[in-house]
Symmetry: C2
Amino acid sequence: MTLNQMPTLRTRTPRKKAGGQALPRQQFKDLAAFDRRAQLLEVSAQLFSEFGFESTTIRQIADRADFLPGSLYYYFRSKEEILHEIIQEPVSKTSRDNLRISSLNFDAEHRLIANIIARLYRFLKNGAAFTILQNDRKFLSGHGDFEYVEAVKNKSIELLQSTLNDGMQTGLFRKGIDTSLMIGAISRMLSSAASLFRSGDIVSMDNSLSYPLDNVVDFYLDCILRMVRASSRVDDPIPRAICQELMVGD
Amino acid sequence: MTLNQMPTLRTRTPRKKAGGQALPRQQFKDLAAFDRRAQLLEVSAQLFSEFGFESTTIRQIADRADFLPGSLYYYFRSKEEILHEIIQEPVSKTSRDNLRISSLNFDAEHRLIANIIARLYRFLKNGAAFTILQNDRKFLSGHGDFEYVEAVKNKSIELLQSTLNDGMQTGLFRKGIDTSLMIGAISRMLSSAASLFRSGDIVSMDNSLSYPLDNVVDFYLDCILRMVRASSRVDDPIPRAICQELMVGD
DNA sequence: GTCTATACAGTGATAGAC
DNA sequence: GTCTATCACTGTATAGAC
């Protein structure tokens, strides 16, 4: 299943402006309400990630969701509330990933790999949200209501930093890596995966035909390990499987 | 000299609203006009790169340049014209870099290194413009008037692609690199340098005290070569000097 | 739960005084 | 060459009919 084919419930009927008989769905009222909200969130995430939060207008969102602009405010108090709902969960899941990984009894290389796989996994499951976090970071960081985003980002950096330092000390990684530069390089590099995953032609992890996705994960693991590993270890196998189990059960 | 300390002629006098005696600068009329324009371009580039083109308003630009909004239109026909003037030269210089590099009689590794150095050099000389090209690529690509940007980007990708293929065939690079993924990874990675250069604490190339900058260039060369080189060559010296000469004389 | 209608601030841009 | 004043438009958001 590609990401673009997820069950979006995008009821693309041409919107019967008038005279349409009332649909007999009273019994699904709550479900319908939930779906509508979810649909609005998905449409918004799509647009925000594509054009940027500030450049996306309420009218654009309403158009795509077959709404009129005013009706959005039945579900959300403001445009910013929509953004919050889009990014809150991905951010808090990232935070939990960080905690889980830093509490592992693995060596630095395993923790680095687990970190990378976790990030790629989050990108895959929620590419739009992470694209927004990446592209609109200026807006988010300058805005008090989104401080929790910055906080988690800082924690992620700390985790990577300590992992790199640990690896250098134990000899798994080459000496003399500039950790600040390396963290920036790795982060940007991985962010190129987010757009990849959102292009739609990569297969999910759960799928038995997950060859293409595995390819992508292998690619990034390979590249990053080549950058940090001690020269004598560049051709060592990559212990991916053991790290991957971390993500089971979300 | 740090980038932030370049001679910007930012005449930060508190703007004498009224009663100021006329400055005796008739003889510098043309020069003054040029400087004003240049100042506006620099202020705009700064703001566009920081907040995004669409999110930056004419009034913000006017404020920072000690203008009133309407006066901007004496120098520029539109906001978009400002953007054009900011990015046109950097883009065309990038294009020339590409041509120069692809016409070299160097092997693939040397061409790759020259490519990286050229990009970093452009980032250094014009960080704001390249940040805009990076951050607002969605706007630029969806806009007919900026097709030349996309064209140069595509050429850059082609150059990298042929360089990587060449290197794999001649055995300088390891076999089986996914060139599409690798180009994306390298591009994003290098883009992290643009923001670095703009943070202001990196020293220019011309400067004899250019230690920090050299450090950064070395870092990226090292990382990228580790990603692409055949395993047997990861510890070979990096022939940087010979490639660097390409950039002399802009 | 959705629509109509609209308030109100902010946007890019213009015309004409100085 | 810069300012004043203002236009037409688009932005988010609200109130109330249905």
